[in-house]
Amino acid sequence: MDLSFSPAQQILQQSARAFLQQRCSITRVQELALDPRGFAADLWKEIATLGWPGLLISPELGGSGGTVGEALALVEELGRACFPGPFIASAVVATTALGLAPGRRARDLLAALAVGERICTLAVLEESGRLDPDALALPIAPSGGVTGRKLFVPDAHVATDVIVLGRGAAGPTAVVLPMDRAGIGAHPLDSMAGDKLFELELADVAIRPDDLLGPPGGGWALLGPAFRVGALARCAEMAGAAQRVLELCVEHARVRVQGGRPIGGYQAIQHACADLYRDVESARWLTWEAEWKLTSGRPDAHAAVAAAKAYGAEAALRVARRGHQIMGAIGYCEEHPLHLFHKRILTAALDAGDSTWHLEAVAASIGLPQDRR
C-alpha cells in the first residue's frame, strides 16, 4: 500500500493550485456562471500553454502522455477552484474515447486538442435521459444523413467538434463531427447549475466515411471506458469542490461570532463540520482506490468506479447541502460562492452516469444483477 502522490502528481497539484488562485478567482467563476456564454477563452488558452488539455494525449501527438492518476490530481484542483468549462468533457472523456479509436481522423483531432486549438464535446443522452446503450434512439447510418436530437450536450457553443453516439444497424455507433457541419444546430438549455448545456439538433447531417469512430456497432466499446474515466474525473472534481465547501464552512465558523463566541465553538456546528470532514475524506479516498483499481487493470475496477461515483455524489451533495445550514443566510446569496460549488457538485453528480445508473453496476458486482433469468 502506498497512498502517496507521485512527484508528477504533486507538481501538477501545486502548480494548478497556484495558477487557479491567481487566474481563476471565485469572482471570475461567478461572472462566468452568470454570463450566458460563460466561457473563458483566455483561461483556456493559458491552460493549453500549461499542457492541461493534452495531459492524456500521447507525446507523439503533442500531448504529455500523462496518467489517469495525474489527470485526477489536476481535476481535484479544478474542482477546488470551481473551474468552469469543458475540461472534463473534452480533455478527459472525448480524449479517452479518441485515444481508443483507430485512424487518422481521431489522431488529427487529438493533436489539435492537445494544443487547445480545438475543443470536443459529447452528445449521448436523449429524451429518455438514460446513459445506456439500449436507450439510444438516434439512427446513424454509415453513409447518409442523420436527423434527430441530443440533450444535455455540454459547452456545444464553444466546442469545435462533437462525438455523437447513436444507434446503428450493428449496434451503438459513434461518429465525430465538426460543429460547423451543415445541419447541426445547438440550442441552449436553461440550467440553474451554471454549466452550459445544449440541445443538439441534427437535420439531415451528412456522415462521411471517416467520421466513424471505430467500427459500426463499436461505439459503446469506445465510450464505455471513456465514461469510466470521466466518472472518476467527476469524482475527483466533486471531492475537490466538497473540500473547498468544508474550508469555507470552517472559516466561517471560526470568525462568525454569535452569543459572544465563534459559532464553531458550539457543538451543533462542530459536529456538522465533522460530518463534512468524514464525507470529504471517505469520498476522496474511495475515488483514489478506484483510480488504482482502474489503472492497474483489476477485475473489479468497473464496480469500484461505479461505487466511487455513487458514493462520491451522495457524500459531496451531503457536504454542499449541510454547508448551507452551517453558512447561514449569507450562503443563500447569489454573490456568495457556496451555491457555485453546490451546483458544480450537482452537475458532476449527474454527469458520466447518475447514482441510479452506477448502483446498478454495484448491484451486479455483489451478486444482484438486474435480470438474472
Binding site: 500500500m1 502506498d2 497512498l3 502517496s4 502522490f5 507521485s6 492518476g69 468544508l246 470552517v250 465558523a253 471560526r254 463566541r261 465563534p262 464553531g264 465553538g265 458550539y266 457543538q267 456546528i269 462542530q270 459536529h271 463540520c273 465533522a274 460530518d275 470532514y277 468524514r278 475524506e281 471517505s282 469520498a283 479516498w285 474511495l286 483514489w288 482506490e289 483510480e291 488504482w292 483499481k293 489503472t295 492497474s296 469500484a304 461505487a307 466511487a308 455513487a310 458514493y311 451522495e314 457524500a315 441510479t356 448502483l359 446498478e360 454495484v362 448491484a363 458486482s365 455483489i366 451478486g367 444482484l368 438486474q370 438474472r372
Partner: protein, 391 residues
C-alpha cells in the same frame, strides 16, 4: 497510488486463509460473547492458536520475540480473520497494550507480560470509564497511593469489556492527590488475580454479558507495573484511545461486507424480484467500500507516523453508524423473522442479524461516543475553538 497488497503481504494472506481452512472458526471453543465489532467472540483457544503461529507478535521487535513484520501484515491478518468470521475478540486489545508496553512499559512489564501476550495467554480489559466519569473521563475518582514498592489502588471502573475473562486491566488512576484534570494520572497494569479485585458482570440488552464492573479495594500493584512514567497517564490514555479506535475497528468494513453477503444470499433466495432491496444493498455496498478506503487512509498515515486523529475518528464514527444502518437494513429485509434469536427453529441466517443488530447500538458509545469523536475532529483536525468547559 497503490491500495494493493505487496507480494509478501499476499503470501501472508494466503497463509492466514490456509490456516482458517484447516482450522474452521466454528471449531474453536468460545468463552466470551461477540460484541459485534467484527472480531467475533472471545475465544482463548483461538487466541492461543494465533499465538502458536507467531501472529500475536508479528510486528514486535526481535528483542521482544517478535517477527518485525511491517504494519501491513497486521492489516492483512485482521481483514482475513474478519472476512472469515473468526473469533478473535481479544486481539485488538492485545495489539494496543503490547504496542504500549513495547514503547513505554517498564522492563518488568516487558519481561512479565509480553511473552504471555505472544502465546495468547494474556488478554486485557480497559479500566477507563467510571460511574461518574463517562465522556468526561477526567472526572474519574479511582486513586492509587504509593506504599513502599506498591501502588495501593482504590476505585471502581465500569463498562470494561471482557474484564471477567481477561487476565490484566489497564487502569487509569489518579496518583497525585493534589492534581486535577489531566495531570497526576497514571496508567497501571493490574493483574486480575490480585487480592481486592472484584469483577462483576453486567448483562446487556442482548441478554449476554460483555461488560463488567470492576471494584478495586486496596489492590497492591507492583511499583513498576506502570505504563510510561507515573503522572503521564493522560498521554498514555490518549495514545491508547487513538490506537484502540483504529485497531479495535479496522476490521469493521470486512465484517460488514460479510454481513452484506449474507443479506445478498437471503434476498436472492427469498425475494429475487425485490428491486428496492437490490438498490438498498448496492447502496450499502458503496458505503462499506468508502469505510474501507477511509480506514486504509488512516492506516497509511499511522504507518508513516503522520497525524491520523481526524481520519481515525472519522472512520470510527462511520464504522459505528454504518454498522447500525447495515444491521437495520438486515432487520427490515428479514421482516418478522428478524427478531428470532439464534437457535430458534425459524431463525434466518442463523440468527446472526438479530445479535449483531443489538450489539450495534453500543458501538456509537464505546471507545468515545460519536459526539466525542465529532468534537475531536472539529477541534483537533479542523482547528475549531474548543467549547468552554463547565465548572
Amino acid at each position: 497510488m497503490d491500495f494493493g497488497r505487496s507480494a509478501v503481504e499476499q503470501a501472508f494472506a494466503d497463509e492466514v486463509c490456509d490456516f482458517l481452512r484447516a482450522h474452521p472458526p466454528e471449531t474453536f471453543a468460545l468463552d466470551g460473547t461477540d460484541a459485534g465489532y467484527g472480531s467475533g467472540a472471545h475465544s482463548g483457544a483461538f487466541t492461543r492458536a494465533l499465538g502458536e503461529r507467531g501472529w500475536l507478535s508479528l510486528t514486535w521487535p526481535r528483542e521482544h520475540g517478535g517477527r518485525e513484520r511491517p504494519m501491513g501484515f497486521l492489516l492483512v491478518l485482521l481483514e482475513e480473520l474478519a472476512a472469515a468470521g473468526a473469533p478473535f475478540g481479544p486481539l485488538g486489545g492485545c495489539l494496543q497494550v503490547s504496542e504500549s508496553i513495547i514503547r513505554n512499559g517498564s522492563a518488568t512489564l516487558q519481561r512479565e507480560i509480553l511473552p504471555q501476550v505472544a502465546r495468547g495467554l494474556a488478554t486485557f480489559w480497559q479500566g477507563y470509564s467510571e460511574p461518574g466519569a463517562g465522556s468526561d473521563l477526567l472526572a474519574l475518582e479511582t486513586r492509587a497511593r504509593l506504599e513502599g514498592d506498591h501502588w495501593v489502588l482504590d476505585g471502581r471502573k465500569i463498562w470494561s469489556s471482557h474484564a471477567g475473562i481477561a487476565t490484566y486491566g489497564t487502569v487509569l488512576a489518579r496518583t497525585d492527590p493534589a492534581s486535577t484534570r489531566n495531570r497526576g494520572l497514571s496508567m497501571l497494569m493490574v493483574d486480575n488475580r490480585l487480592p481486592g479485585m472484584d469483577v462483576r458482570p453486567i448483562r446487556s440488552l442482548t441478554g449476554q454479558v460483555y461488560h463488567y464492573e470492576v471494584f478495586m479495594d486496596g489492590v497492591r500493584v507492583p511499583r513498576d507495573w506502570v505504563m510510561g512514567k507515573p503522572g503521564e497517564g493522560f498521554g498514555q490514555l490518549l495514545r491508547g484511545l487513538d490506537t484502540d479506535r483504529f485497531w479495535g475497528r479496522f476490521y469493521k468494513a470486512p465484517f460488514l461486507r460479510r454481513i452484506l453477503g449474507l443479506l445478498v444470499e437471503y434476498v436472492r433466495a427469498e425475494r429475487p424480484d425485490d428491486a428496492v432491496a437490490r438498490h438498498r444493498l448496492a447502496h450499502a455496498a458503496t458505503e462499506i467500500a468508502a469505510l474501507r478506503a477511509l480506514f486504509h487512509r488512516a492506516a497509511w498515515l499511522i504507518e508513516h507516523g503522520l497525524p491520523a486523529t481526524g481520519p481515525v475518528s472519522a472512520a470510527k464514527i462511520m464504522a459505528a453508524e454504518l454498522g447500525q444502518r447495515v444491521l437495520s437494513l438486515g432487520m427490515e429485509l428479514l421482516g418478522s423473522f428478524g427478531v428470532l434469536r439464534a437457535g430458534s427453529r425459524w431463525a434466518r441466517l442463523r440468527g446472526e442479524i438479530e445479535h449483531q443488530y443489538q450489539t450495534s447500538w453500543g458501538h456509537t458509545l464505546a471507545g468515545g461516543t460519536s459526539e466525542i469523536q465529532r468534537t475531536t475532529i472539529a477541534v483537533r483536525a479542523l482547528g475549531l475553538p474548543a467549547e468552554p468547559r463547565g465548572r
